[in-house]
């Protein structure tokens, strides 16, 4: 029974979001990925979280040659534990994404984390303070970007002394 239901959820996602899904990938059983345009994240996340009752697991950012890629992982616990990841790409020149925290408070921490470690600005985040780095951390250095070097930081610090 659980299996039939799970097929339902995935086809519902495909059907309702078909004008927003750019590409769909079924990696292995119960693991799905789909790409959307950056501007569509709020309606897509709202649909998955509020309409379908998916649980927001976390988001993860990766620095790729094309820009910063953000994956939002959602889990359908009651429909066979499917994990669906929503993928979007934001260029480094205009690194901003609309925040999903206003309607998913559980995303507050991770968006703050991505903001300070990968330099993606989350628009309309209710509490955009840095989460992990100390107060004197330079706000233009993003440790998880590929062009970040530990040594830059230490040298600069020593020069300042």
């Amino acid at each position: 029974m659980a299996k039939e239901k799970s097929v339902d959820v995935i086809s519902r996602v495909k059907e309702s979001l078909k004008d927003k899904i750019v590409s769909w990938e079924e990696k292995s059983p119960r693991r799905y990925y789909f790409t959307i345009k950056k501007a569509d994240i709020v309606p897509v996340a709202k649909y998955l979280f509020e309409k379908l009752g998916a649980r927001f697991i976390t988001a993860s950012g990766v620095d790729t040659p094309k820009g910063i890629e953000i994956l939002y992982h959602f889990s359908f616990d009651k429909e066979g534990g499917k994990v669906v990841s929503v993928r979007l790409l934001t260029p480094k020149q205009k690194c901003e994404v609309e925040s999903i925290t206003p309607f998913i408070p559980g995303a507050g921490f991770i968006e703050r984390e991505i903001q300070e470690l990968l330099g993606v600005k989350f628009l309309n985040h209710p509490d955009p303070r840095p989460l992990l780095t100390s107060e004197d951390w330079p706000r233009d250095k993003f440790p998880l970007r590929t062009d970040y070097r530990d040594t830059d930081f230490t040298n600069e610090k020593e020069e300042n002394k």
């Binding site: 990696k27 292995s28 693991r31 990925y33 976390t58 998880l144």
Partner: protein, 400 residues
Amino acid sequence: MSNQRKTVIPIGPYHPLQEEPEYFELYVEGEKVVDIDIHIGYNHRAIEQIGQRMSWDQLIFLVERICGICSTSHPIANCNAQEDLAGVEIPERAKYIRSIVGELERIHSHLLWLGLAGHFLGYNTLWMWVWKYREPILELFEHITGNRNHYAMMRPGGVRRDIKEEDIPYLTKVLDEAEKKIEMVTKAALDDPVLAVRLKGVGVLTKEDAIKYCAVGPTARASGVAIDVRRDDPYAAYDLVEWNVITQEEGDVFAKTVVRLLECLESIKIIRQCLEKLKKVKGDIFVKIKKMPPGEGKGHHEAPRGETFHYVRSDGSNNPIRVKVRAPTYVNLPTCKVTVPGESIADAAIILASIDPCYCCTERMMRVIDKRTGKIELDGNDLVRFSQEKTRKLRKELGL
């Protein structure tokens, strides 16, 4: 926010009596907490970044070091992710061994929490007893894995060590004794009038808030959200044995305690069935993963505190290009924003402790130098003292 006129009580970030660095700002009016601010970031070790420089095999050892209590939950989650990426199914015998190690860890972690909760409430007898019952479990770990903690039992594609046939009677004996003790503690704790007054109706997390804050594990299950990765997305041997997901509806600290205690008994049930199967199922304990293909993998494991989620990404080379770790406390901690306000300062310590926070799991990514030199008027030690005094007063009132 209009927090300027309220008194601020900082707790942390460093104190000899706090187990881990953490920093809370409680905004109080009189005795009542009206708002709370959570600061994390004092425990960073750049694990995600270091992980990108490791080989796939080394990565398991690295993530095992994320946490000292639930040290096998990160490796299980990471192995699940790597196996998803490589498209590998592990041998049946390895599945049972994984479940046994995972559940033994749940028992010792829940007992550890119960002991600490007892200490926060001024029940030091409970603390000492429970930790005494936890000890045989750790000795058992040393016997079958070689270590009391950091067992290094998991490897991508299976497990590293077998559980020997001749060790099974010893395992069963320890479990039988643990079961008796846990049942005894459960009865003693749940029937205690003072514990009931201290914990019932305190720090209530409603079902709506649990869903909104995406809470996981016992924190969610105590609020009536029946999610458990072991049942919902089965891995290891969890779909091959019979067991129940424990839920409570109340959402208060008492419900969280009940969930954890009953879960220990469920864990014993799972381990017993796995041991029975181990006697029959023979064969390999791992399959070799020759080459990691390019792509992505997602894996999760129900750790004692809730779902641990790992995401790995490969470009086909010997090391991952991205490792993402989401520990359960990362989503459970923000629920304190709704559970603590409205309660008294004396109750704050136990509510903050009720999610079983684990900061070394929550923060993994980079080094942080703390330069905060604010004067601390009240610290975690004072809070524990307040909480213990309240219990003492209650006891006197109840004539115990």
